[in-house]
């Protein structure tokens, strides 16, 4: 079943607004480019299903899925999961780096205290 003109208009406006939001954040360096690609999938996958209903029906048949929208939700969930996994990996790296920096800072302070004590005695 082809989408109605009203659906196409509302969806297009939403997609464009969402992509503009993402692009602005990438340009302002508040979003990583790789994250931008993953987050774009949240918009790109439904767009393919909406603008190319024949193609999405064909893909659904190949995948053995009765209703194309199930494939749509599945693809979006996978994209969201990949994004969440990326964040978890990055958080772990940051945690390790923070621990290392905290240790280095503490040891530097010990050296500084020792140096200051040494110069006070002189």
């Amino acid at each position: 079943m082809d989408p109605s003109p009203q659906t196409l208009v509302v969806a297009t406006v939403s997609f464009v607004a969402y992509m503009v939001l993402l692009v602005v954040r990438v340009v302002r360096n508040r979003l990583d480019f790789n994250d931008f690609i993953l987050l774009s999938a949240v918009c790109a996958v439904p767009a393919v299903f909406l603008y190319f209903p024949g193609f999405s029906a064909h893909v659904s048949r190949l995948a053995g899925v009765s209703y194309p929208f199930l494939l749509l939700f599945g693809a979006v969930i996978v994209a969201a999961y990949l994004f969440a996994m990326r964040i978890a990996i990055r958080l772990n790296e940051l945690k390790q780096r923070t621990a290392r920096l905290t240790q280095e800072l503490a040891l530097l302070r010990v050296e500084l205290d020792a140096a200051q004590k040494g110069s006070d005695r002189r």
Partner: protein, 230 residues
């Protein structure tokens, strides 16, 4: 032989002065480094007149605190490193026992064990059950026999210092470090020592946390075993 005694502390303001004072009369030439692991009390202030103090600006946990001390030992070229708790559980006079045992029969890691000496304080019954479970897991996963795998009273030689300064387990370091060290070819030995109940403060592992701790330790032991094989 240059010895560094590393004392990781978290809110041990009530006992650290006594521990450091006792260490002064333990009869073993040494340097000390107290690692204040993000304490909310006055641990660092009380320790400063008696020892060098490394203050971690955030709480990293026992693994992070001990690694800080090992890093210091590595950087300053110490021959031996002894880890000793700041809560008074490890009588400072037992440092001499570890050192004598090391000189008699060297190993990369000497673990001060509560379970080789009937006179020692051996912790609560629940914890002893947990320790038995962890020992069994170490035997099954790493092929090693350790009666007191959670003991935080241990001696590292140069080889162990070099091994751990950059890669000390951050989570549940006591049991995991022995397993990992063994897989890397380091030797270890258990030595009978006498321990006490903690002199002040409160344990961070209590009640239901004991069970949660147990499950997580077993999970991490399995994880590190997989990493060692990879």
């Amino acid at each position: 032989m240059r010895l560094l005694i590393g004392i990781p502390c978290h809110n041990e303001g009530g006992s650290i002065e006594k521990v450091l004072a006792e260490l002064r009369s333990c009869g073993v030439p040494h340097d000390t480094l107290v690692v204040d692991d993000g304490s909310k009390d006055d641990t660092a202030r009380r320790a400063r007149p008696l020892s060098k103090v490394a203050v971690l600006s955030i709480n990293l946990g026992i693994g992070g605190a001990v690694q800080t001390a090992i890093r210091y030992a590595h950087r300053h070229d110490y021959d031996l490193f002894v880890q000793l708790d700041g809560d008074g559980q490890h009588p400072p006079d037992q440092v001499r026992v570890l050192l004598d045992q090391y000189l008699r029969a060297p190993a990369s890691i000497l673990v001060g064990s509560r379970f080789c000496d009937v006179q020692s304080f051996r912790s609560t019954r629940l914890r002893r059950i947990g320790i038995t479970v962890i020992s069994s897991a170490l035997r099954a996963l790493y092929g090693i026999e350790v009666r007191d795998p959670t003991s935080g009273f241990r001696l590292f030689d140069r080889k162990a210092i070099a091994f751990f300064h950059d890669a000390y387990p951050q989570d549940f370091p006591e049991p995991i470090s022995i397993g990992v060290a063994h897989r890397a070819g380091l030797t270890y030995r258990e030595v009978a020592v006498t321990m006490r109940e903690r002199q002040a403060g409160a344990s961070s592992i209590y009640g239901f946390k004991n069970l949660k701790y147990m499950v997580r330790v077993l999970g991490y032991l399995a994880l590190y075993r997989m990493r060692a094989s990879a």
